[in-house]
C-alpha cells in the first residue's frame, strides 16, 4: 500500500481550497504539493506566514479534508486510525483543557491511545521531566505561561512514544533556553530512530536541525531537498578575513585585489571573492608580519534562499465564485 518503502509521509498533489466570506470566494491555501518524508529524518517545512504550512499539516492529521490530491502516512491514507496510531502531533498555538493539571492532561491523552495503569503513570512523569515541566505536574493548565503550554503540548505529542512526530511551529513562544531544549529534544528523537516533521519560519533552527527541508510559498512548493544542496545553488566562494597589525602600504596592496576593506580600529576586515585571493591576502599579511585573527567562509544561508524565493513567488491563485 505504501508508496516507496522508506517514505513515512507521502503527499501526492495535495491541494486545499477554502471558501471565504459571504460569496464563498475561493482561496487556494495549498496548491498541488507533492513531497515525501523519509524514515528517520528530520524534515523542515518552511515558509512565510500564510504560506500554507498549518493547512498542510492539518490535512495530514485528518482535521480538514483535501480538496484534491492524496497523502499517506506509513502507507495508510491520511485520516484513518491506522495512519494516526503511530504519530504524535503538536498543533499550532495549542489550546488545551485548562482545568486539568499537567499530569491529568497527559494521562487523558494516554487514555486516548488505550494506555493506562502504572506504565502510563511512569510515562507521564518521564515526559514531564523531558520537557522540563516536572515542577508543574499538579498545577492547572490555566496557570501555565505560553511557553509552559507549548512544552506540555510537546509532551502530549510524545505520550504514545510515536515513530513519527509532527510539530507545527514547536519553537514559537519559547525563550532561547526553551528553543535550545526543543532543538535538543528533536535531535534526541532522531537519534532514537524517530522521524520528525516540523514547520517553522525560523530558518536558523531548520538549518541546525534538518536533514531535508521543503519550502512552500503561497501554497506552492518552491524548493525541496537537502539543506546543503539547496544552499549550493546560491553558494559563493566569498570569505571574510580579519587581520591585525597591517602596515599602511600593505593595506594599499590589499585594496588592489580585495572586494572590500573595512578598518575596524586596530583590525582590518577584508572581504575576498575567491580562494585565490584568500591565498594572496594571507601571503601578504604574513610577509609584513601581520596577524590573521580569523578567516570565515561566507556561507549562503537558507535565509538568502528564502528571501529570493519569496520575491519570485506568485500571488496565490484566487478564483472568484
Amino acid at each position: 500500500m505504501g508508496v516507496g518503502g522508506d517514505d513515512v509521509i507521502c503527499l501526492n498533489r495535495l491541494s486545499k481550497t477554502f471558501r471565504v466570506g459571504f460569496w464563498g470566494k475561493k482561496v487556494t491555501a495549498v496548491d498541488q504539493v507533492s513531497l515525501a518524508v523519509r524514515r528517520g529524518e528530520v524534515f523542515g517545512f518552511l515558509g512565510p506566514n500564510g504560506a500554507g504550512k498549518t493547512t498542510t499539516l492539518k490535512m495530514l492529521m485528518g482535521l480538514i479534508y483535501p480538496t484534491s490530491g492524496t497523502a499517506t502516512i506509513f502507507g495508510y491514507p491520511i485520516g484513518t486510525p491506522q495512519a494516526k496510531a503511530r504519530l504524535g502531533f503538536l498543533p499550532e498555538s495549542p489550546y488545551f483543557y485548562d482545568y486539568l493539571t499537567g499530569r491529568e492532561f497527559l494521562r487523558f491523552y494516554g487514555h486516548l491511545f488505550g494506555l493506562r495503569g502504572a506504565w502510563l503513570e511512569r510515562r507521564v512523569d518521564e515526559l514531564l521531566e523531558v520537557v522540563g515541566m516536572a515542577h508543574a505536574r499538579d498545577l492547572q493548565l490555566r496557570k501555565f505561561s505560553k511557553g509552559m503550554l507549548q512544552r506540555v503540548g510537546i509532551a502530549q505529542a510524545l505520550i504514545n512514544d510515536p515513530e513519527l512526530v509532527v510539530l507545527d511551529e514547536p519553537m514559537s513562544g519559547l525563550d532561547p533556553i526553551g528553543r535550545k531544549e526543543v532543538r535538543d529534544l528533536i535531535l534526541r528523537l532522531k537519534e532514537s530512530g524517530k522521524t520528525v516533521l516540523f514547520s517553522s519560519h525560523i530558518l536558523h533552527d531548520a538549518e541546525l536541525l534538518c536533514d531535508r527541508v521543503a519550502m512552500i510559498m503561497k501554497g506552492r512548493l518552491v524548493a525541496c531537498g537537502h539543506v546543503s544542496d539547496l544552499l549550493a545553488g546560491g553558494a559563493t566562494q566569498e570569505a571574510e578575513l580579519l587581520v591585525e597589525r597591517l602596515l599602511p602600504e600593505a593595506l594599499e596592496r590589499m585594496r588592489s585585489f580585495a572586494k572590500k576593506v573595512v578598518l575596524q580600529g586596530e583590525q582590518v576586515m577584508v572581504v575576498l571573492a575567491s580562494q585565490q585571493d584568500v591565498d594572496r591576502a594571507i601571503d601578504l599579511v604574513r610577509s609584513v608580519k601581520g596577524k590573521v585573527v580569523s578567516l570565515t567562509p561566507q556561507k549562503a544561508s537558507l535565509e538568502d534562499l528564502f528571501i529570493r524565493e519569496a520575491k519570485g513567488a506568485r500571488e496565490p491563485v484566487e478564483v472568484a465564485a
Binding site: M61, P94, H111
Partner: protein
C-alpha cells in the same frame, strides 16, 4: 475505553459550568416553592406539588441538556482543543459519543438531585410517594436523552445561537405534536401535508410525560414503559447517527 475517557473529561468540564449550578438552584427553588403554594391551596395540594415538582425536573433538566449540549462540540472546535483529539487514533464518532455520554452523566446526577429535592418536599407535607413517581422520572430522563441528542445534532452544523433556538423549538413543538395533526386537519391540502410530516418526524415528547398517571394513580404497564423507552432510545440513536454523519465530513478550521 476512549469513549469513556472523553465522557469522563466532558463530565469534569460540565461540572465547571456555572450555568449548571444556576439552573439546578432554580429547579430546587421551584420545587421548594410548591410547599408554600400547597399551603395556600385548599384540597388536593399533593397533586399540585407532584405536578409542579415533575414539571420543574423536566424543564430544568431540558434546559441543562440544551444549553450545555449545544456547546459540547462547538466549544471544542472554537477553542481548537479538538485538534489534539482528532489527531489521535480516535474516530470522530467516538469523540461525539464520548461528549454525549459525558453530558448524560451530568444530567443523571442532576436528575437525582432534583428528584431528591422533590422527595424531601413531598415528605415534608406527608404526601405518600408511589413507585409510579420514579417511573415518571425515568421517562423524563429518556426525554433528556432525546433532547441532548437534538442539541448535539444541531451544533454539528450551525452556530450555537441557532442551535439553541432550533432545539428549544423542537422541545416546545415536540410536546404539542398530537395537536399538530388536529391542527393540520383544519388546514388546506398543503398545510395538512406539512403538519403530518412534522407529526411523523419530530419526536413525540408527550409520550414521555407520565405526570397524569402519577397524579391520578393510574399504574402503567411494564410493556408500555419498555415501549416508550425503546421509542426514545431509537429516536436518540437515529439523531446521533445523523450527527456523526455530518460531523465526519466537517473541516475543523
Amino acid at each position: 475505553m476512549k469513549i469513556l475517557s472523553i465522557a469522563f473529561n466532558t463530565f469534569r468540564e460540565n461540572l465547571r459550568d456555572k450555568l449548571l449550578y444556576n439552573l439546578l438552584i432554580f429547579a430546587l427553588l421551584m420545587i421548594g416553592s410548591s410547599i408554600i403554594i400547597s399551603k395556600l391551596t385548599l384540597g388536593d395540594f399533593d397533586r399540585l406539588m407532584i405536578d409542579i415538582g415533575l414539571a420543574s425536573v423536566n424543564l430544568f433538566g431540558v434546559l441543562i441538556a440544551i444549553f450545555i449540549g449545544i456547546g459540547l462540540v462547538s466549544k471544542e472546535i472554537d477553542k481548537k482543543t479538538i485538534y489534539t483529539i482528532v489527531s489521535k487514533p480516535v474516530a470522530r464518532y467516538q469523540f461525539l459519543l464520548g461528549k454525549y455520554l459525558g453530558l448524560l452523566v451530568t444530567l443523571l446526577i442532576n436528575t437525582t438531585i432534583m428528584t431528591g429535592g422533590l422527595l424531601v418536599v413531598l415528605w415534608a407535607r406527608n404526601v405518600t410517594v408511589e413507585g409510579l413517581l420514579f417511573q415518571a422520572v425515568g421517562m423524563i430522563f429518556v426525554e433528556f436523552m432525546v433532547m441532548t441528542a437534538v442539541a448535539m445534532l444541531f451544533s454539528t452544523f450551525t452556530s450555537t445561537t441557532l442551535s439553541a433556538i432550533f432545539t428549544l423549538a423542537i422541545y416546545v413543538i415536540g410536546h404539542l405534536t398530537p395537536d399538530l395533526k388536529t391542527f393540520g386537519e383544519k388546514m388546506d391540502e398543503l398545510g395538512r401535508l406539512v403538519m403530518n410530516g412534522l407529526y411523523y418526524t419530530l419526536p413525540n415528547l408527550e409520550r414521555f410525560n407520565l405526570k397524569g398517571h402519577v397524579i391520578h394513580h393510574q399504574a402503567i404497564s411494564g410493556t408500555d414503559l419498555v415501549l416508550i423507552a425503546c421509542y426514545g432510545l431509537a429516536y436518540t440513536a437515529m439523531l446521533l447517527f445523523l450527527a456523526a454523519l455530518i460531523f465526519e465530513r466537517r473541516d475543523f478550521r
